[in-house]
C-alpha cells in the first residue's frame, strides 16, 4: 500500500516533469513515465493498491493533459491488467522482456488513445508522422522500462522493509498446522 502510494506520488512528479520537458522536447522524445510505472507496478507489486494507483495516475494524466477524464485511467487499468496477465504466463523479470513488453504496450496505448479519441468525436489521424512518433516513443519506452522497473523494485523493497516490523509474525505454538 505504501509502495503504491509512493509510486503514485513519484508518477505524479514524473508527469509534471514530463509536462515541463514537453515545452522544449518534441512529443516523440517525451517518454510516457506514467505508463512505464503502471507496467512496473503490475510486474513488481501487483495487487489492488497498485491497480488503484495506476487508475489514479491515469486520472491525473487526464487532468494534466486535458483528455476526457477517464481515458488515460482506462488505458492504464487495461495496461495493468494486460501486464499482470502476461506476467502469470511469461517470464518478465529480464530487462529484455520488460523492454519488449513496454514497447508493445506503448504502441498499443498510443493506438488505443487515438482510437478512443476518435470514438469520442476527434478526428482519427493515423499517418506516417503519427506512426513514426509512436515507434520512437515505443523505442524510448523499451530503453527506459528496465530502469523504471528497477526503480519500482527498489521502492517496493524499501517500503517492504519499513513495513516488515509492523507485520504480525506468527509465533510458534507447538501445534502442527492443519
Amino acid at each position: 500500500m505504501i509502495a503504491a502510494l509512493a509510486l503514485f506520488v513519484l508518477g505524479l512528479l514524473a508527469m509534471v516533469a514530463e509536462g515541463a520537458a514537453a515545452s522544449f522536447l518534441p512529443a516523440a522524445f517525451c517518454p510516457d513515465f506514467a505508463l512505464l510505472l503502471v507496467i512496473a507496478m503490475a510486474l513488481d507489486l501487483g495487487g489492488g493498491s497498485a491497480l488503484l494507483a495506476s487508475a489514479a495516475l491515469g486520472y491525473a494524466a487526464d487532468v494534466l493533459s486535458g483528455a476526457p477524464l477517464g481515458q488515460h485511467a482506462l488505458l492504464h487499468v487495461l495496461a495493468f491488467g494486460a501486464t499482470s496477465a502476461a506476467n502469470r504466463s511469461l517470464e518478465l523479470r529480464t530487462p529484455l522482456a520488460q523492454a519488449t513488453l513496454a514497447g508493445v504496450l506503448t504502441l498499443l496505448n498510443g493506438l488505443l488513445l487515438s482510437l478512443i479519441a476518435s470514438l469520442l468525436g476527434a478526428a482519427l489521424v493515423v499517418d506516417l508522422r503519427f506512426a513514426l512518433q509512436l515507434i520512437l516513443q515505443a523505442a524510448l519506452s523499451c530503453v527506459l522500462a528496465p530502469l523504471v522497473c528497477a526503480l519500482v523494485e527498489a521502492v517496493a523493497s524499501r517500503t517492504r522493509e519499513e513495513e516488515a516490523p509492523r507485520r504480525s509474525v506468527p509465533l510458534p505454538s507447538g501445534r502442527r498446522p492443519i
Binding site: 491497480l51 486520472y59 494534466l64
Partner: protein, 301 residues
C-alpha cells in the same frame, strides 16, 4: 463466499475500475457539448499543484532555451552583420563608380561646352609628371611634336588657362604653369574690362597688376585673358580676384588672384594647337609651324 471474493478481489477491482473509468470518460465527453465546466475539486487541486510545479521545473529549461535562442540570434546577427558589411562595401564601390561616372560626365559636359566656346583645334594630353624644383612651376605632358604640339601653344582645361608649352620633344612637352614666376599673361576683368597683367608668384596664388584708371576691380571678379599678349586667345578664364592689396603706386595696383584651375589636381589638359602670329614670327626659324597655326588666325593675337 468471502474467501472467493477475497481471492478474486483484484479481478473484481479491475472490472470495477474499467467500468468506472469508461463511465467517467463517457460522462466527461457528454458534458463537453454543454459548454465549459468547472473541474471537480480533486482535479482542480491537482492542476493547482501541478501548474506551479511545472512552471518551476520549466524555468531552468526555459532559461537555457532562452540563452540558446539568444546565442542563435546573436550568431544569426553576426552572419547578417557580415553579409550587410559586405553588401555595404559592394554598394559603396558601386556608389564610387557612379560618382566617378557622374564627375566624368560633368567634366565631359564642361569640356564640350569649352570646345563649343573656343573655336580652335585642341589636343587632349595627360600630365606625365610635375616639376620637382620649388623655383619653377611646370609639368610634363605626354604629347609632343609628333602630335603637333609646339612651344608657345597655350594649355588649358575646361576650368581655365593652365599655362604655356615652353618646350616640346617628339613625344613630350613641358608646360609652364601660370603659377611660375616667369609667367605673365595680359588679362582683363570680365565685368569692368579693367586691363592688367597676371603674374605667377611661384605659389598657389597669382597676382593681378592693373592700372588704377583702367577700371574698377572688386573681390570676386573673374579675370580672363585679353588676347593682347600675343600668347593666349582672348576670353580664357584665368581666375577670380581673391583680395586687393594696398601696395603699389597710385598708378599701378595689385590684387591677389585665385586660379580657376586647381593645379594640384591636374591630370589632363588640352593643348590648343594654335600659336599667335607673334610667336610664329619669333620662332619660325627654330621650329616648323603647326598645321593648325598655319591655317589661320585665332580669336586673339
Amino acid at each position: 463466499m468471502r474467501d472467493l471474493l477475497y481471492r478474486i478481489r483484484v479481478p473484481l477491482l479491475f472490472v470495477a475500475l474499467v467500468g468506472l473509468t469508461a463511465t467517467t470518460m463517457l460522462a466527461d465527453r457528454r458534458s463537453l457539448p454543454a459548454g465549459a465546466k468547472d473541474l471537480p475539486l480533486l482535479s482542480g487541486a491537482l492542476l493547482d499543484v501541478a501548474v506551479p510545479l511545472q512552471a518551476a521545473l520549466s524555468a531552468p529549461f526555459d532559461f537555457v532555451r532562452g540563452l540558446f535562442r539568444r546565442y542563435v540570434a546573436l550568431t544569426d546577427l553576426r552572419t547578417e552583420n557580415e553579409q550587410l558589411r559586405s553588401r555595404v562595401a559592394q554598394l559603396e564601390e558601386e556608389n564610387l563608380q557612379y560618382r566617378e561616372a557622374l564627375i566624368a560626365s560633368e567634366r565631359l559636359e564642361r569640356i564640350d561646352k569649352m570646345r563649343g566656346e573656343i573655336d580652335l583645334p585642341m589636343l587632349p594630353a595627360e600630365v606625365a609628371s610635375r616639376e620637382l624644383s620649388p623655383w619653377y612651376r611646370s609639368l610634363l605632358i605626354d604629347r609632343g611634336r609628333a602630335n603637333q604640339v609646339h612651344a608657345g601653344m597655350p594649355a588649358l582645361t575646361e576650368d581655365g588657362v593652365v599655362g604655356l608649352v615652353t618646350a616640346a620633344s617628339p613625344h613630350a612637352a613641358r608646360v609652364m604653369l601660370l603659377l611660375d614666376r616667369q609667367s605673365a599673361v595680359d588679362a582683363m576683368v570680365q565685368r569692368s574690362r579693367a586691363r592688367g597683367i597676371v603674374r605667377g608668384l611661384g605659389a598657389e596664388e597669382l597676382e593681378f597688376e592693373f592700372t588704377a584708371g583702367s577700371g574698377d576691380v572688386e573681390i570676386g571678379d573673374t579675370v580672363i585673358t585679353s588676347g593682347l599678349g600675343g600668347v593666349y586667345p582672348k576670353g580664357l578664364r584665368i581666375g577670380e580676384i581673391a583680395s586687393l592689396t594696398a601696395e603699389g603706386s597710385h598708378l599701378q595696383q595689385r590684387a591677389k588672384l585665385r586660379p580657376a584651375v586647381d593645379f594640384g589636381r591636374l591630370e589632363e589638359l588640352f593643348v590648343v594647337l594654335w600659336r599667335s602670329p607673334t610667336l610664329e614670327l619669333l620662332s619660325g626659324d627654330l621650329e616648323s609651324p603647326a598645321p593648325a597655326a598655319s591655317s589661320g588666325s585665332g580669336p586673339g593675337s
